[in-house]
Amino acid sequence: MTIIADNAYLNTRVSVMAMQLFEPSGIAALSHLPLATLAERFGLTAILDEQQSTRARSRAVEQSLIQVLLAELLILVRPMNTAERALVLDWGRKYALFNLKTLIRGKLYDLDQKEIQDNLYVLPEHMRLSEEVSTELFRAENVLELLRQLEAGTHRTLARQAREVYEQQREPFALEAAIDQRYYAGLLRQVMAFSDANLDPLKRLMGAELDRINLMWLLRFRFSYQLSASETFYHLVPSMRLLTRERLLHLVNVETFEGVVATLPAPLDRLLAGSKNIVDVQKRIGAYAAQEAHWVLHRTQSGVARALAYLMLRERDLLLLFALAQGQILNLPSAAIEIAVELSEPGCPWAGSRAA
């Protein structure tokens, strides 16, 4: 059977779901809607619960938007084969890793169990850390115990090195960076294991995503956290498209923000030319990754690549929606909300100083 016949059901599903993706004009229209209308249109009733604290309302909105995304993900993985399902489920498991990081930070900063619990995402069964692991981690009474629990599971090597780093530095950056790095390296390995007609579209999609991640990490680690070139490179996940291993080795050695932007390969050099700061770069590279995802969604026939592209775009939309809702919950001025949803340029002075 051809890839079209193989993926007929999945592709139809994706096409139907893709109709709900936001158009740029739609986002502008949404940004002018009052909170009550937003809540009604997207089923975000938690926003209107005045008795809850601002933080709790915001959290509830985020939680319901994630539920929407993951529910759609679970619908899309149903007709997939084992390898496709594993890839898409693993992409969604980043939320389980967010929970893992929340647990680690919570224990590290000795937060109250309730506070940690309140900050964990409620995830569908397939997307959680295993029940046993999360319960044991949650019940750990200090960081060392938590790291010991982690060492007993699939994060064995991570936890061992984290314990050593923790004993020296007492901060979670190394562990979190390693978790992120392994997550993306795992996705990349899964993509490269495909050998059929799905491979090229997946490479294009995941390549664009990794380019985006690598560039953001590179700029942050080098110029915000002031890490050395070696350490910065170590935390990156070379992409198979633009920011390959050789290019990254070259880029991390560039000493200035402007220099990095100027040294980027085409088409990133053209797209990012004149970027003033990391926020600016984030916006432009985000648009580039979204554009690539749109290309995969509309121009390819691979069911799994289209499903993943749809989910990435849907996640982006839902994050914009969350930014809109949160902005209104916090009573932020509309100009600030528009910057957050990328409808206008960040003109305020603090935005530029961060990348300097």
Partner: protein, 642 residues
Amino acid sequence: MLRSTPMKHVRLLVLTEDLPQASLALADMESFHPDTRPPTEVRLAGLPGREYREVFAQANARLEKIGKLIPVPETPEIEQVRVVDFAELQTLNAWLGKVWNETSSYEEDLRRLDDEERLVKEQQAALANFAHLNIDLGMLRSKTRFLDFYVGLVPRENLRQLEGAIGLAGYILHLYMQQDENAHVVIVGPAGTKESQLSAVLDAAGFQNLPIPQELDRNPAELQRDLDAQRASIDAQRKTLLETLARWSDPFSGPLLEARRTLLLAEPLVSLDPSIRSAGYLAHLAGWVPARSVERLDARLRESLNHPFEMSVRNPTSDERPLVPTVPAKSWILSPFAMLVKQYGVPEYGEVDPTPLFAVTFVLMFGSMFGDIGQGAVIALAAWLLRKKLGRFWPFGLMAGLSSMVFGVLFGSIFGEEHLIPALWMNPLSDPLLMLRIALGWGVIFLTLACLLAIYNRLVVRNWSGAVFGHHGIINLTFYLALISGAVNVATAGEGVPGVRVDAADAFGTLPMVLAIGALLALAAHSWRHQQGAVGEKILVVFIETLETLIGYVSNTLSFLRVAAFSLNHVALSIAIITLASMMGAFGHVVPLILGNIFVIVLEGGIVMIQVMRLQYYEGFSRYFSGNGHEFAPLKFRRGSA
């Protein structure tokens, strides 16, 4: 025996302070299945047990963690049932926290020793590798004026990225050995300014320094002895640590056992927590209780509670039927069959429990498809000998074996030999057509029985329309029986009158024809009424559904031909084995006979079992058994003894 145990809905209103006592009484009775639905009264909205549950969970987790180093019995005898109040639970939790704090330092020490031992092992492996090199290893131990050396381990998956990263700081990495998940590497680079950069990267990559021992120019055997001595020393330290731990923990054994008991006593209230609601001093809890236990429960509560309480009892309403738990069959002989039924689902309350019927039909079908005295005896004997390993499952093997033996007597087969004993009935191969007819007849009886059970199940829940028009309802059964009756008429028409050819339509019979067509029309009309859509679409759907009914019943009946087919197949296989054995001469006769019988018992026995399961699940259960119920799980102590 086929009906569910009658259940009652029990609602209790007690004073909040009596809740712990009530939970103990309910757990002790082992007959209360909590109903977690909130009460209709909005004022009963409080959740009084949340804090208790949190403290319990923490205390329990602490005890579990301590239990990994200091053995604490899982389910000790509970000598006296008593209330564990919140203050006692908090005190216990705090004490367990303190004990865990101290215990965890021992755990940390043990882990440190494990790490040290692992490092020594890696060192031994590395030195064994260095032994083949013709270089001055002493150089690797310390920095030189211009060069830094690092010898150590790094997780394999970090290797490539690390190589690129240290390359940026002017260092080179040489991989000299890979062992398990680690790579052994030597990193060399210029001494000086980039050292701090490198150290951050090495930390991030999980690099572990591997100390190079002094006096590397010594005899390698001596070095190995040193390392062995280090390992022995670590073993000794571990032993001492475990002894210290044992001595230290000795006074805690009693209190920890008592802590376990206290937590077991607190557990019922925690388990009940999701179904408890309160308003001030009043607490509400509800659950399902077997009708026969209600009076005893009432008496027990009167005896246990210090204050008045209200207990109201009623029958489940029809809407509540899916929520009512089903009490499982408790017969040792049926329990393995119940396990197989549970693979499909738990009977919904009111639904016929198929376990007894399943057991009888399973044993009958298995025996008829695998009839052999010797092979049946082997299966039965194996089940008996392995009864400890098989647990509750052994009666299943025993009965399957015995059934096989009974049919072996009827067929006259012993270890595949068909001529050693006379058949009490007949050898299946002597009249295959009769066997096929019997199998079809059995199929008709089985399917009719399944339809009758489906109708009964719907009548019990007052689903009148489903009982008449639904799948395998009265109309379906009428159609099926008419079809079978007509088919029998056609098959028997002209029998005994040679040379006379009878037209099939005439032979079918007027009454069966009228009933079959009438039933199909009734089903079509019923389906038409429930369809939505354009007329063309409705015609198509109704036509396909009606056709599916017709084809479905015919193919399902024919499916039972496998019962005869396998009994014939069994004989044919046996003949093949005996023929093979007889070709081997007197000496070689025994070996193929034994191997052939093992082959038949394992492979054909397995296939027959799968086929019988298939008939049960697809031709039986799918007709009358929803399996949507949930099992009765009463509140109880993890080891109830008072």
